[in-house]
């Protein structure tokens, strides 16, 4: 195609392209196929920068919002969610000086504070011109201006104009006139670096609208995991080769801009995609200086699909069915090749003449207007505004621009919440948490914020039950294959690659085989019907004969979701039966056989490590109760492509039941107990572990291997199960206050039925609230937080500082828990502050594509992040990680864990050291720990949680619940 060039020039070009591609890769969304949704920091690529810098930089790159909108903060100010005290503290922290803005004038801080207290509506451009010339901006004071300020301005204007008295229009005109000469020069917005941006500016045509549908179709066909009946031929060769194989054949699409594509592709025989991309860039007239921004811009324009390709390139094992040989450079070559065609087509088209550039403005009166309003609010009249002061005022307004204001408001907003939690914790411990009598049962849950309420209700029902929190994989990193599952899937944090296989096996082989055969038969029938209904002949026969029967499930599912789900469930159970199973989790010490990179189970020593580590870190091991229940969690819902995002993050977006079951089995294992005893951390003989899985959507519990409980503990288990059942109903009750569609005056039993219906309802886009409202992570013994109502907003990590003087446990704990909980928190933050760019937008038009993600409609970019319905009630605050440790110990931990230090040091979360016995806390800032100034606030005290939340939908402050402390009514 092009003349041969000197080879070393070519090589340097290729290197530049590869480098640009690598840099662009980091900016793409890191979301794997949606079947296992793992929460992570949306701006992970920016974690090297301080939070405030990163959000602004990313906002420019992605065209997103860094913080909530100004209108949202206005609402927070109006509702008192941000108050004057918060603003004052934030300005002091930001070191806004107290010196007067000019001699005799108000202080800079006072002006800042005044401006921040008044989020003004600022018309722009033509709207402002109208406001000034035809509206009443220059004839009436702004409604927020106080009487005193008005009087001062009128007096000042009279003095300036040398008159005895003036009216408002004259005074305001004079004030505006004093400021107007200081309008700064307007900055013209340059178009972006891509050729597409130039064509859009010159011709008014967006070539992405031509190119993207072709790219979307091709990418979707390439990565499809089994939606299409007929998959893309030649896709095993890669995206670009497959596209070339398809479109190089003659007789291609008749779209005018694609004419000749076949010949062009045919000529590319044997060319590497890098060459194709470089050729296209040359034809687009992109010089070496623009290479990087153009590559980045091209990929970011279709970032969902580009990100999916990049993910599959890095982790092909995360593709659920087919592992496509994905390469980002293929996509880039294809995108640039098509863009070059489209640009040429549009540029040479008669039909799209150049659009005349609109006249540029030379001055920006917006800032003058803003200064004019601020002067009114501050009561500064024209007489005080000598030219240099007017200039200073305009400069101050310019300095306190929209981003700066939102940053300060955001800090105030966070601070308001954080300080209340910190003070409540201090007060709670100060008022005393009675020591627990020897518990008869212990319940170990995930650290998940959703477990907070369940644990609290359980403790309220019976204060002699002790609860603990540990990451919900319970230390068991495994690949797990459930009964009937075709392949094993990892159940452990994403960062870990499991090395051990655990398999669920039936106890009665023959029975299980019969069940499996029946289920397989029914499955084939269902699958056949599903595939058939889309085909021509079978579909016709099905529709015309049995189609009408479809009305039965239709009516049932829509009008009676809970009943229908129960019927289906019971019918399935009656028809197929459920074989009893056990886990195969152990292997002999000398069994080194590896299959698919996995050991066939854990050795006794490995199991003892897992069990010992958990019992040590949580402090459980010191005093084990006779009955210990290990509760994993998952969530079930229908019509919810993001179902996995509601599951346990610690298991990598899976359900934690198998981990709980495996942990319990290991802790009951004789060999493990002997080994632990040898290591000096024995499990008492009378103690038994039982696994369970909590469905956080339905609020139900499934017991795992409960039949193995020794007879002496059967009664205790029954009692505990009954208490848990009551706690689940109360948990559902507390959750229901957050659903606007659930009446506020339900009984716990009705609430329990309500959440069950939600999980079975096809029409329910909010089956549960997930991690929405999460804000705090507390790493401390439960004794510090027991009896404190935390409104399901806190991750609770059990940690016993007394048993960990050197902080070894703490380091491991924080290294695991910190990034995970901060990742969840930040994903909610970003999906909330910009639901369109960072989030997946509203769920309602979502359309599952290729089984890897969702699009809007039939050919959009893949939507990454969380859907709006999931984050709707979230408060976008960064996580406050509160750790019971003195600052020195935490500093040692941070020094040993650079990832953690980066998160805390760059402000992606607030790290707080807590010494409860001293009643002190320290916040970690960039240069070290700063003491928290405690404010004495009343902490509400109630007998039981429902008294606190009943009838209320909003976020609630922390409060003491006596029943859980063992002092309330039993």
């Amino acid at each position: 195609m092009s003349a041969p060039r000197p080879s070393n020039e070519r090589r340097s070009e290729r290197e530049a392209l590869a480098a640009a591609l690598e840099r662009a890769r980091h900016l793409l969304p890191a979301q794997a196929p949606i079947r296992s949704f793992v929460h992570h920091n949306t701006l992970h690529a920016f974690e090297d920068l301080p939070f405030d810098e990163a959000v602004v930089l990313a906002a420019e790159r992605f065209g997103a919002e860094p913080y909530e909108l100004e209108s949202a903060f206005a609402a927070h100010l109006a509702s008192g969610r941000i108050d004057t005290g918060d603003l004052d503290a934030v300005l002091r922290e930001a070191a806004i000086d107290d010196a007067p803005a000019w001699s005799g004038g108000p202080s800079r801080r006072a002006l800042y504070e005044l401006r921040l207290q008044h989020p003004l509506e600022l018309p722009q451009g033509a709207a402002l011109a109208w406001h000034l010339t035809e509206g009443d901006a220059l004839s009436r004071f702004h409604p927020a201006v106080s009487e005193a300020a008005r009087a001062r301005i009128l007096a000042s204007a009279a003095r300036a104009l040398g008159r005895h008295a003036v009216d408002a229009p004259a005074a305001l005109a004079a004030l505006y006139a004093a400021l107007a000469p200081h309008a700064p020069a307007a900055v013209a917005r340059a178009p972006g670096p891509r050729p597409r941006d130039r064509v859009l500016a010159e011709r008014g045509v967006d070539v992405d609208e031509l190119v993207h549908p072709v790219l979307v179709r091709s990418c979707a066909a390439f990565v499809d995991q089994g939606v299409a009946y007929w998959s893309m031929p030649a896709r095993a060769r890669g995206l670009f080769p497959a596209f070339r194989a398809l479109y190089a054949a003659p007789g291609g699409p008749p779209d005018p801009w694609l004419r000749g594509l076949g010949a062009e592709l045919a000529a590319l025989e044997g060319q590497a995609p890098e060459e194709v991309a470089l050729d296209a860039l040359r034809r687009l007239g992109v010089g070496p200086a623009d290479l990087e921004p153009v590559v980045e811009g091209t990929l970011l324009a279709l970032r969902g699909w580009a990100g999916m390709i990049a993910q599959l390139e890095a982790r092909p094992d995360r593709a659920p069915v087919w592992r496509p040989p994905a390469r980002l450079v293929d996509l880039l070559a294809l995108a640039l090749l098509l863009e070059a065609r489209a640009v040429q087509h549009v540029s040479s088209s008669r039909a799209a003449p150049a659009v005349a550039a609109s006249a540029r403005r030379s001055e920006a009166p917006e800032l003058v207007y803003e200064a004019f309003l601020l002067a009114q609010l501050a009561g500064i009249g024209p007489h005080e505004l000598a030219p240099e002061r007017a200039r200073a005022l305009v400069a101050l307004v310019a300095e306190l621009d929209g981003i700066t204001r939102r940053r300060l408001w955001h800090r105030a907003y966070e601070r308001h919440h954080r300080d209340r939690v910190l003070d409540a914790l201090l007060a709670h411990v100060e008022r005393g948490v009675p020591a627990l009598a020897r518990p008869w049962a212990q319940v170990l849950c995930c650290i998940d914020d959703r477990a907070e309420s369940l644990r609290r209700h359980l403790e309220e029902l019976d204060p002699s039950i002790e609860t603990f929190g540990y990451a919900g994989f319970f230390g068991v990193s495994m690949a797990y294959r459930g009964l009937g599952e075709a392949s094993a899937r990892p159940l452990c944090p994403v960062a870990v690659r499991p090395r051990h296989l655990v398999v669920e096996e039936p106890i009665e082989e023959a029975h299980a085989r019969r069940v499996a055969a029946r289920r397989r038969w029914a499955g084939r029938l269902r699958h056949g019907a599903a595939v058939g209904s889309s085909s021509l002949v079978r579909g016709g026969v099905l529709a015309a004969t049995v189609g009408m029967l479809g009305a039965i499930p239709l009516v049932g599912r829509v009008l009676f979701p809970r009943l229908t789900e129960r019927l289906v469930h019971h019918a399935a159970r009656a028809t197929f039966g459920e074989p009893a199973t056990r886990l195969r989790f152990a292997r002999a010490d000398d069994d080194e056989a590896i299959q698919d990179g996995l050991f066939g189970g854990f050795t006794v020593a490995e199991m003892a490590d897992i069990v010992g580590a958990l019992l040590g870190a949580t402090g459980m091991g010191a005093a084990l109760a006779p009955l210990v229940v290990v509760v994993g969690h998952g969530s079930s819902s229908l019509n919810n492509p993001h179902e996995s995002a509601y599951d346990c993050g610690a298991t990598g977006g899976g359900r934690g039941g198998p981990n709980a079951r495996a942990f319990a089995a290991m802790a009951n294992h004789e060999g493990v107990r002997a080994e632990l005893a040898r290591r000096g951390a024995p499990i008492p003989e009378g103690t038994w572990f039982v696994g369970a899985e909590h469905d956080t959507c339905r609020d139900s519990i499934e017991w795992l291997d409960a039949d193995l409980v020794p007879p002496t503990l059967e009664a205790a288990l029954e009692r505990l199960a009954a208490q848990l059942e009551r706690a689940l109903a109360l948990d559902a009750h507390e959750r229901c206050r957050r659903f606007a569609s659930a009446p506020l005056e339900m009984t716990p039993a009705r609430a329990h039925a309500h959440v069950e219906a939600r999980s079975a309802d096809l029409g329910e886009p909010r089956p549960e609230c997930g991690h929405a409202t999460n804000a705090v992570c507390i790493v401390a013994p439960r004794a510090r937080t027991r009896g404190l109502f935390l409104d399901r907003r806190a991750f609770l990590v059990s940690y016993e500082p007394a048993q960990d003087p050197d902080g070894a446990h703490l380091g491991a704990l924080l290294a695991a828990v910190g990034p995970v909980s901060a990742g969840i928190n930040l994903e909610y933050y970003f999906s909330f502050v910009d639901p369109e760019v960072y989030g997946a937008g509203t769920k309602l038009p979502h359309n599952i594509t290729g089984l890897v993600g969702v699009m809007n409609g039939h050919a959009s970019d893949l939507r990454t992040g969380l859907p709006w319905q999931m984050v709707e009630i979230h408060e976008p605050v960064r996580l406050s990680m509160i750790v019971e440790a003195d600052p020195q110990k935490l500093e040692r931990v941070l020094a040993a864990h650079p990832d953690l230090a980066r998160l805390a040091g760059n402000g992606w979360m607030h790290l707080i050291a807590w010494c409860p016995d001293e009643g002190r806390m320290w916040r970690f800032e960039r240069d070290g720990f700063v003491s928290h100034e405690r404010a004495r606030r009343d902490v509400v005290e109630v007998a039981r949680s429902p008294e606190l939340y009943r009838g209320r939908r909003e976020h609630l402050e922390c409060a003491r619940v006596e029943a859980a402390l063992g002092v309330g009514a039993r």
């Binding site: 079947r35 008014g204 549908p213 179709r217 979707a220 066909a221 089994g226 939606v227 299409a228 009946y229 007929w230 194989a245 007789g251 699409p253 008749p254 779209d255 005018p256 088209s349 039909a351 799209a352 003449p353 009937g484 075709a486 397989r520 269902r526 699958h527 209904s533 889309s534 085909s535 021509l536 579909g539 099905l542 529709a543 015309a544 189609g547 009408m548 479809g550 239709l554 009516v555 599912r557 829509v558 019509n639 919810n640 179902e643 569609s741 096809l762 029409g763 329910e764 909010r766 509203t842 309602l844 038009p845 979502h846 359309n847 599952i848 594509t849 809007n856 409609g857 039939h858 959009s860």
Partner: protein
């Protein structure tokens, strides 16, 4: 109330109840008082409950009374000299099952959407359009003349386009809504022309009693009958997304899931077959027209089943599956198998509505299925790869992936000229007004070919 009176009331209620609900919501929205969710959902449930019960009541009354066809005359729209446009509704063995099914399905969709659209800012707007759609559909189904059918037909088209464009904060839904609207309008010309030509050649566009069900009056001349049959077929092409106008259907999936289900799985898409079933006497008289119906249906069914097989997103796959079945239904109608066609429509509507409503569950369901089968699902399409010669495969696959190309051709050859023509009229008008006002005319930019309708 006598049997006759109640039978007169039923079709009126079926149309009036949704229309009234529409009017009430519109009124509250109009005075700037957005109605609450619960109020809206209950009102709509009530309206469609009433409509469903009215039709069910009428059906049982007709069964008991042994009636197969009831014409309810409600006066005339217009009387000029010896010509009149009668206002008449028809209850017969065609309209009753269709009208009952439609009222029931729209009502179900309404119940579903109360939870689905909860807290969406367009909640009231959705129900407003749903009610208008319901009224329009009932008017199409119960209308006793093509003029009445046309009014309902237009309402259905309008609400369909507006619901595709429901998420109006993004540009693509609006563009796709516009595309569907343009296709509808182009095809509506067929219905209007058929009515006019029937007036000219058969003395009116009312429905005449016949032994099967009321049918469109048959013109005396064979040529006239063929022409009218072809015009009605043309009218049916748009609503039922038949070749070559099917391209809007996958694009329509940009709207909220429940409206996609009720419009393109259940009701709107089956209005084409309904119209042709009404015209059955004409098709029987005009074999050429019937042949055209068969040809269009067969081509569409083949095209859609073929294109549907390569779709990688759930909703497009379902859209093409629907198109396939509707094509088959056209064939059945052309072959003179009306009863089979009715059974096919009812079965297909029930099945597809559920599938579309359940589309976002496909991952969940697949997981269950895999566990039941104890294996990954068998790979489909193997036999296609065996049967189609290797050299042809890329060519055919590309044809299917590009949706048979006719989408691009329609955009280029049909829609773009229409848009250009409309713009030309617009410029003419601008010049005319400028001349009247004595100012220079503003020159608007010519659109890029295909830009508007892509």
């Amino acid at each position: 109330m006598t049997l006759e009176q109640s039978l007169r009331l039923a079709p009126v209620l079926a149309i009036a109840a949704p229309a009234l609900a529409f009017a009430l919501i519109a009124l509250r929205l109009g005075i700037g008082h957005t109605p609450g969710e619960r109020w809206t959902a209950r009102l709509v449930a009530l309206a469609f409950g009433v409509a469903t019960l009215a039709i069910a009541g009428a059906a049982s009354a007709m069964l008991v009374g042994g009636l197969t066809e009831v014409h309810v005359a409600l006066g005339a729209w217009l009387e000029v000299a010896d010509r009149a446009l009668p206002f008449e509704l028809v209850l017969d063995r065609l309209s009753v099952p269709f009208a009952g099914l439609a009222a029931g399905l729209v009502g179900l969709t309404g119940a579903f959407s109360a939870r689905y659209l909860h807290r969406d800012r367009g909640f009231a707007r959705f129900y407003l359009l749903l009610c208008l759609f319901g009224a329009g559909v009932e008017l199409v189904l119960l209308g006793g003349s093509l003029e009445l059918v046309f009014v309902g037909w237009e309402l259905v088209g309008l609400t369909s386009a507006l619901l595709i464009a429901f998420f109006d904060e993004r540009p693509t839904p609006a563009r796709h809504g516009l595309r569907a609207f343009v296709i509808y309008r182009v095809c509506d010309v067929g219905l209007l022309s058929a009515a006019v030509w029937l007036h000219h050649s058969a003395g009116g566009a009312g429905l005449d009693a016949s032994e099967r069900w009321a049918g469109v009056r048959v013109p005396a001349g064979a040529l006239d009958a063929t022409l009218v049959g072809a015009l009605l077929l043309f009218a049916a092409l748009g609503k039922s997304a038949q070749i070559p106008f099917g391209g809007w259907l996958p694009r329509a999936m940009e709207g909220p899931t429940p409206s996609s289900a009720v419009f393109y799985g259940a009701i709107s898409i089956h209005l084409g077959p309904y119209l042709l079933l009404r015209a059955a006497p004409i098709l029987e008289r005009a074999p050429l027209a019937a042949g055209l119906v068969i040809a269009v249906g067969a081509l569409t069914a083949l095209h859609a089943t073929f294109v549907g097989r390569v779709q990688t997103d759930v909703k497009s796959a379902l859209a093409y599956a629907s198109m396939t079945q509707v094509g088959l239904i056209f064939v059945e109608i052309g072959l003179g198998l009306p009863w089979l066609a009715i059974a096919h429509v009812v079965g297909h509507a029930s099945l597809r509505t559920l599938q579309l409503l359940r589309a976002p569950s496909v991952l969940h369901d697949r997981g269950h299925l895999e566990r039941a089968m104890g294996a990954e699902l068998p790979r489909a399409g193997g036999h296609l790869e065996r049967l189609v010669p290797a050299r042809l495969q890329p060519w055919l696959y590309r044809l299917a992936l590009e949706r048979g190309y006719h989408d691009a051709l329609v955009a280029d050859r049909v829609l773009a000229p229409v848009v250009r023509w409309l713009r030309a009229l617009d410029r003419l008008e601008e010049r005319w007004i400028a001349w009247l006002e004595g100012r220079p005319a503003k020159v608007a930019r010519e659109p890029e070919r295909g830009e508007v309708v892509r």
